[in-house]
């Protein structure tokens, strides 16, 4: 605070009429951007809040609903499907990860620890909502009806893959399920989501877009612009951030210095909420509410789901190199979102040990079978190397295909025998 003499001095330096010389608080002027109140006290907004934004949670760690909590109603059918899908996702991750370790699959990305975010958010959306994923959200596709065989086919890149073997494993996509094909690039899907929402808005559809990204992805330029665009455009997008604490080996403290991602919503004029991402019921409620707001008010919503990445970044990573195995174990066992939700449905009398055993063994069997089938299925033909680059293969690609075929014919021993031409 400046001493009075200096303040007075400041005013005296301006040769204006005496009305202006008076120090008045709450004086308002019209700069571009709207009216803003003046203050003679120089005050910097703090870089960090005294209290961090609170986290919305409905179930405690024992799976019991917290007193005075407000959440959306979930019917028995939906709750059971949610839980079953969470178990299926968890089992699929375990089995596919093992398959990769055994050398049967070349690469895999697990979602361990984030099952609640995946399934609960998917459950709160409708099938006409467009999903634009990053790469750790196969649960959304699972909820929508993508079969275990289809997951396996994509991972093995065989003829049954609707992506025709062109993408890395776990880079799913299905226009039938309104799930954009995953690209490995980080956060590039966020502007896509805004574009898709723009399309929905033009067509005045009763649907929104849900897009996912991680804490690391929030550092990308596309994140900034997508939020900004969505706000300006008033586009019905739900931005769901899976803040799982790690971007490969980069912890949050090296990623940003803000209070997580939720506070950034305000910076762009986007309504936001922080949710316990391991609480399936809270996730469901938040996305349910967000969807309603996004569509009826035509606005973007930002949801920061706090969670923990229990698995490694991908099968190419060994996270014990940069974090303690104890920390991982603690989150895996003590804070597992799946068992937490299980306790809640059990407390409602909707689940028991027997059904649990049945489900797990059935899913496991199905998955092992799916892998077997996928492994033995034919790979896509050489011809598919050249299709879909354009709508119709142009002359140069036809020529290149011809050249490749001739080369294969001349040196058949250099090429895998079981891939058809």
């Amino acid at each position: 605070m400046l001493p009075d003499s200096q303040v007075a001095g400041l005013n005296q330096s301006k040769p204006r009429n005496s009305a202006v010389l008076r120090i008045t608080l709450r004086q308002v002027l019209d700069f571009p951007g709207g009216k803003v109140a003046f203050t003679p006290q120089m005050e910097f907004l703090s870089e960090s809040p005294e209290v961090r934004s609170p986290c919305y949670r409905v179930l405690d760690e024992y799976g019991l609903s917290i007193e005075h909590s407000s959440f959306a109603e979930v019917s028995k059918e939906v709750a059971i499907k949610m839980y079953s899908d969470m178990v299926t996702l968890q089992t699929m991750d375990t089995i596919f990860y093992e398959a990769q370790r055994q050398g049967r699959m070349s690469f895999y990305v697990t979602t361990i620890g984030e099952e609640a975010i995946n399934i609960a958010s998917a459950a709160a959306l409708s099938i006409s909502d467009i999903v634009v994923p990053q790469y750790r959200e196969p649960g959304v596709l699972l909820w929508r009806g993508f079969s275990l065989q289809e997951f396996a086919n994509q991972c093995f890149g065989n003829k049954g893959d609707n992506g025709k073997g062109r993408q890395m494993p776990a880079h799913y996509g299905s226009n039938k399920h309104n799930y954009f094909t995953i690209a490995s690039t980080i956060a590039t899907q966020l502007p896509h989501a805004v574009g898709a929402a723009y399309s929905l808005k033009m067509d005045k559809k009763d649907a929104c877009v849900a897009t996912y990204f991680g804490d690391g992805g929030s550092s990308e330029g596309d994140f900034h612009a997508a939020l900004n665009f969505a706000a300006v455009l008033e586009a019905p997008v739900i931005f769901i951030c899976r803040n799982n604490g790690w971007a490969i080996s980069t912890p949050l403290s090296d990623q940003f210095r803000s209070d997580g991602i939720v506070v950034r919503g305000k910076a762009y004029g986007v309504r936001s909420i922080r949710v316990d991402g391991n609480d399936a019921l809270a996730m469901y409620s938040a996305v349910h509410a967000a969807r309603k707001m996004a569509i009826s008010e035509s606005r973007p919503i930002l949801i920061e789901a706090l969670t923990y990445r229990v698995g490694h970044h991908t099968t190419s990573d060994d996270s014990t190199k940069y974090r303690s195995a104890d920390e991982i174990e603690c989150w895996r066992v003590k804070r597992d979102p799946v068992s937490r939700f299980r306790k809640w449905i059990e407390s409602n009398g909707w689940w028991c040990d027997e059904t649990e055993m049945e489900l797990r063994s059935s899913v496991r069997k199905q998955l092992l079978h799916a892998i077997q089938v996928a492994e033995q299925a034919e790979k896509p033909p050489i011809r598919d190397l050249f299709t879909d680059v354009y709508d119709v293969p142009p002359a140069n690609l036809c020529e290149q295909e011809k050249l490749l075929k001739e080369t294969i014919k001349r040196y058949p021993q250099e090429y895998p025998a079981h891939v058809s031409v």
Binding site: I130, V132, D161, N162, G163, K164, R166, Q167, H171, G173, S174, N175, F180, T181, A183, T185, T188, Q189, L190, P191, H192, A193, V194, G195, A196, Y198, S199, L200, K201, M202, G221, D222, H224, A225, A226, N228, F229, V232, L233, T387, D388, V389, Y390, D391, P394, A395, N396
Partner: protein, 409 residues
């Protein structure tokens, strides 16, 4: 990126006169910094950095603006207007006309870019469209090229046909990630499930003292990206035709316009027409040498052609128009006839369209060549601001004449 083309060089392009009868003479009254000092001998720096001193009493003005662009065309090309009916139009208006017709025809076509809405676009290509089609369909975006290009891709994946405008092609370098990794790729990696019928367009090339950052030739950088098509327009006729064809194409198309060609005037047909995206345009049939060019260099070539004809040469001039893929059919037929090739481009020598074209022709038509292919390009330097220096980075008609003379010895 700073939008500095409100500067002197592009002033004529930015603000069309209210009567649309701007004729090319107006451009000869280029801003005052024209080089009245340059009379008599001028040094022409060739792209191979040898310096030719040639007597040229004409001032700079005549060099850079070809007043007879229209007249030269109507002699020859079947692709130009056939009838005396039709209407006169400037190139930027032709682009707009094409865009507007497609927007009328298909409600999925929309426009997004900086200042395309009520401002009408920096080069007025989208003028009036926001008033007609609304603010949502002609969308003003914040300044984030990567992101509004990404937005266009997402909208395209959902069924729209966006036309994304880069205020200057150089700004689309920011969109390279989206264009290369997503636009060109997602149709393929999704197994054909999602199509990306997006058109990305904007002005590029060397203008009048726009500075290095606003003088980019992006066709060099983009030519390798699988999954996209690239076309360059050069006349009001093909500008409209290519715009319409690009919008109707299921593939992502990048349409290259040139900052200095927006005010070209031509008479185009009244009826609906499109130009084939993969076809080159025969500008002037000939026997002695094939000159391949595109965009603004077409006019430098035609200027040189007049001189060459006077000297007794018969050059065949082809505007390649389709930069990716090359129309090797038309080009090949020409090479088989003339056996000599000169490529005239505005790209840098290294890694430009000319470099790829040279390789393609050598590979495919080596037996038909009587001489090595000559490629005239800009030097591998950022475009300087000073007018004199800038002029020497662009291939001038005199260089083209010399190159043909040497090639035909």
């Amino acid at each position: 990126m700073a939008a500095i083309f409100h500067g002197v060089g592009a002033a004529t392009a930015l603000s069309p006169s209210p009567s649309h009868s701007v004729d090319s003479k107006k451009f000869q009254l280029a801003p005052s910094r024209s080089l009245s000092a340059r009379k008599g001998r001028i040094a022409v720096v060739r792209s191979d950095s040898s310096v030719n001193l040639s007597l040229n009493s004409r001032g700079r003005k005549d060099h850079l603006w070809i007043p007879n662009a229209v007249a030269t065309k109507t002699d020859d090309s079947a692709a130009s207007t056939a009838s005396k009916s039709g209407h006169e139009i400037l190139l930027f208006e032709a682009l707009r006309e094409g865009l507007e017709e497609e927007m009328d025809r298909d409600p999925h076509v929309c426009v997004m870019g900086e200042d395309v809405g009520h401002y009408g676009g920096s080069y007025k290509v989208t003028k009036g469209l926001a008033e007609k089609f609304g603010d949502l369909r002609v969308l003003d975006t914040p300044i984030a090229e990567n992101s509004f290009t990404g937005m266009g891709i997402g909208a395209a994946m959902t069924g729209l046909r966006p036309v994304v405008e880069g205020m200057n092609m150089g700004f689309l370098l920011l969109a390279f990630n989206q264009i290369s990794n997503n636009c060109g790729m997602l149709h393929y990696t999704s197994g054909g499930q999602f199509t990306i019928p997006v058109v990305i367009r904007g002005p590029g090339g060397v203008g009048r003292q726009l500075g290095a950052e606003h003088s980019q030739r992006l066709e060099s950088y983009f030519q390798s990206i699988p999954g996209i098509q690239m076309v360059a327009c050069s006349t009001p006729y093909n500008a409209k035709g290519l715009m319409k064809a690009a919008i109707r194409s299921e593939n992502p198309v990048i349409l290259f316009e040139h900052v200095l060609l927006y005010n070209l005037k031509e008479r185009i047909p009244d009826e609906d027409y499109i130009c084939n995206l993969e076809e080159a345009e025969m500008v002037r049939p000939g026997e002695h040498v094939t000159i391949l060019t595109y965009s603004r260099m077409r006019y430098h070539v035609m200027q040189a052609a007049k001189t060459l004809v006077n000297k007794g040469y018969d050059p065949e001039v082809i505007d390649i128009r389709s930069l990716k893929p090359f129309d090797l059919y038309t080009i090949g037929n020409s090479v088989k006839k003339t056996h000599r090739v000169l490529i005239v481009e505005e790209c840098m020598r290294t890694g430009g369209i000319g470099a790829s074209l040279t390789a393609a022709i050598n590979e495919n038509f080596h037996d038909y060549l009587d001489a090595p292919i000559v490629c005239l390009s800009s030097q591998d330097v950022p475009t300087p601001y000073a007018g004199t220096l800038e002029e020497w980075t662009v291939v001038q008609p005199a260089q083209i004449v010399t190159a043909v003379e040497q090639l035909c010895q």
